[in-house]
């Protein structure tokens, strides 16, 4: 699971790429042209970002004529929002604090 997290974090760490992904989440399927108009970077740059998102499983593309349409794949985020991952991190920290306390306690 950590490897899955790493890949998702790396992919979404870039603000421009994250903005593209968020736009697809909010607006649904979009063409590269529409995304470029709103991204503030060149079309090749947008295409490159979309390629990275696609490799991470975060978007899917669909060709129609000369246009490529992209849509968000929310299922790819499941590892990040799974409550068990969040709680595991919570409990690891609590275990650390518990050990600190035990070291300070009298027998």
């Amino acid at each position: 699971m950590p490897n899955v997290h790493d890949a998702l974090f790396r992919t979404l760490a870039d603000p421009t790429r994250r903005a593209i992904f968020e736009r697809l989440c909010r607006k649904g399927e979009q063409t590269v042209a529409v995304l470029t108009a709103q991204a503030g970077v060149s079309q090749p740059a947008v295409s490159k970002h979309l390629g990275v998102l696609k490799r991470a499983g975060l978007v899917r593309d669909r060709h129609e004529g000369r246009q490529t349409h992209y849509s968000a794949q929310l299922g790819a985020l499941t590892p990040l929002i799974d409550w068990t991952s969040q709680m595991a991190g919570f409990w690891q920290k609590r275990f650390d604090d518990l050990e600190d306390l035990l070291n300070r306690m009298d027998q």
Binding site: A13, I81, R94, F95, L101, M105
Partner: protein, 146 residues
Amino acid sequence: MTEAPAGTRTVVVEREIPHPPEKIWRALTEPHLIEEWLMKSDFKPAVGHRFNFRAERADWKMVLDCEVLAIEPSRKLTYTWNFAGNDPAHRLESVVTWTLTPTSRGTHLRMEQSGFRSDQRQAYGGARAGWPQYLEKLEQVLARVD
């Protein structure tokens, strides 16, 4: 875990701790000690006792509704760990079980949390209404990473 209902998920954290079970038991069951590593609580080591864990910071507050389900002094402690937030997507119903096993170097401490959060259902259903929550949570997670 074998009898976990469908949809239930489990978190297990375990660690070898160089302290005897009796001492760890105190840290797990005495409120003034619990507060030092977990949260404020009005816990009492009595089956059926209902209590809260409370965490409060300037900009953040959390109250968990709990009930002691089982106690075996210095060996095992089980309580419910339920969160009834205003947002149904954040509700969590779970059971936390602590198991203490003496070892040659101290204690093997195991925490198992089993439960269900309602947004898991939505996640698999892919409900479009749930998407903004995903993004909100994602941003929270990413903020911690940076």
